[in-house]
Symmetry: C2
Subunit: 220 residues, 2 copies
Amino acid sequence: MLAKSEQAITNADRTFFQLRKDIVEGIIPAGSKLSEMELSTKYEVSRAVIREAINRLATCHLVERKANVGARVVALSPEGLIQLYQVREALEGMAARLAARYMTDEEIADMQALLDSHFDKVKDGQSYYQEAGDVDFHYRIVTGSKNDHLISVLVDGLYHLVRMYRVQLGMAGPRVSTAFDEHRHIVNAIANRDEELAEMLMRRHILYSKNNIEKKLNHG
Amino acid sequence: MLAKSEQAITNADRTFFQLRKDIVEGIIPAGSKLSEMELSTKYEVSRAVIREAINRLATCHLVERKANVGARVVALSPEGLIQLYQVREALEGMAARLAARYMTDEEIADMQALLDSHFDKVKDGQSYYQEAGDVDFHYRIVTGSKNDHLISVLVDGLYHLVRMYRVQLGMAGPRVSTAFDEHRHIVNAIANRDEELAEMLMRRHILYSKNNIEKKLNHG
DNA sequence: TGGGCATATATTGTCGACATTAGTCATTTT
DNA sequence: AAAATGACTAATGTCGACAATATATGCCCA
């Protein structure tokens, strides 16, 4: 999905990525117990490798671990999703501000080109590109902040949790055209080096997404 | 230091806390290599326990790990500290906003009382309480947000990194009296349930701290 | 019959040994 | 002489076995 430089070197890496994928996509159900023995036979690695993978998942908040008891996949709750979006609003708002400050002109031009290509595809009705496009857009802003902590918390942590919610609660993409307009305005603000506006627009963009999701959760 | 519920159950827990403390306080120097064998003899536990502790430290970004090579304590850099404060500004600003929304009247009253006691102590010239008081104040706001992700990222992650910088760069507390005024104003905004103002004041408060630190780094 | 306690079992926590990899140094070849 | 290649070494990665802990079962007693 992400064209990130997350490449697996060791078995623990591979197992971690595989487990994370299986959890995010709901192959391993939310709230279910993660037995080290069971997983070590299933993934054909030793318990130590599974333990390391589970520990990493725990620090990503995809699983919760209790000493001498074991680990469970986190349970999905509406409040959890709201809280996730509150953090996203704060962090990605700051990311947009920093992107307006630190992104190079080339990076901004690339991002504008990316948005154009997305727009063409959406115009042709290929709305299934929406999620990938949205991910791409947010990813570029976040990396454009040039802030390693920000990047890590979002890309390595929150985004996987958000994806888990979206996949398992069946939140495929509504809000296609409006979201694209919002993306466009954010990029314009960044191109104008208007930090204040970039942050404000990004925060509103995420707030709208949150409200939209809340609506679906309540009336759906 | 923190009266948190972080209590060690297993040896890995204890070793993790001990290692974290030694790194934050500079007993293990920034940038130095962490040899698993060496540490396992030093802390009198097996290599597996050390490995688990190091892995946890890696996800806290206190150490950096490279596959088949080893782990090093992160290097301190002025840019790193700036980036940390950028993330703090975003997250604690949101925390103040959410605290204004979700803290109970009792929690707010407690916090005001805490501030009063701090003020009395500072008035008497006991300025060495400043850092602990500051930590207490920020900790209450963050937990008052009732947002688990926010709490975890800040309390389990960033605060230890910030403390590492403060300890090792010798940033003991200046800005005592002005910081107290800022704290007071933030609490007032929260008591008035003014989310917008609470967030804005908190962001400024952290921004001022950042500027103050930058000044010391440059002229110090 | 219901509750508390002791035992039993299954799971996690811990350990030491082995396998594998990266880095170093010496040798060889051009 | 310089560069490349090969083996050597020391570290990390992986594994299976043992120890400690929590939950479940069943027994005893009120």
